[in-house]
Symmetry: C2
Subunit: 98 residues, 2 copies
DNA sequence: TACACATGTAATATAATTATTACATATGAA
DNA sequence: TTCATATGTAATAATTATATTACATGTGTA
């Protein structure tokens, strides 16, 4: 399940944690996480792909273009029923994906 | 988070799905999943490490030793609060792990 | 004894994920 | 013009995860 894969990495969990406080722009996130931007982009991409976060460009007062990311609120009741419903939907027909 | 990593693989989700119906022994699982036992062991190990499943040996009527695995019921309210509580506990001190 | 069906693991190969390095562009301030 | 701070990506390296192959053991039945 894509969402669970997205949440299976420590950096991505930290990103979610940070963005749950407030939106942040890329360089800012990289600094707070202490990782390089290329690596951060990789993780942001995976989170964005499953719609956990969402980015938008903005030109700040000083003229710099910033790309802000914000968290989309979510709630997944992760238990055996949830999973078996998911796996059943796979082995049978898969109407929708993800 | 170990549990999320354990649940980030399709086979492991299927295993959870199958075991949510009833306990099964190793060869039986391998057949139903259509994977080799060595591969199955790998996945079972990861699920067992995080206590999602639990194995026990049993000698069946016909004398064969079987190792049954059963699912431990679980419920993780996976949302941003859950994650940020987790990540905060990391960056500060980490009383407990997992 | 040979076969079928259980158990398990060590060694290796393959694939996927994660991380780094080296680029390139644009804006405003010094 | 040079520096600092934003943006972004392509190519490669390193590490982990996944998968396969080849073994080995034990029990009951034919």
């Amino acid at each position: 399940m894509k969402v669970l894969e997205a949440l299976s990495n420590p950096y991505r969990l930290k990103i979610v944690g940070l963005l749950s406080e407030e939106r942040k722009f890329v360089s800012q996130l990289a600094k707070e996480l202490n990782i390089s931007r290329p690596l951060l982009y990789l993780h942001l991409k995976k989170l964005e792909e499953v719609k956990l976060i969402e980015g938008s460009y903005e030109i700040s007062a000083n003229g710099k273009t910033k790309r802000y990311f914000e968290l989309n609120s979510f709630h997944i009741p992760l238990d055996e029923r949830f999973i078996s419903r998911y796996t059943s939907s796979l082995t049978v027909k898969r109407k929708t994906d993800s």
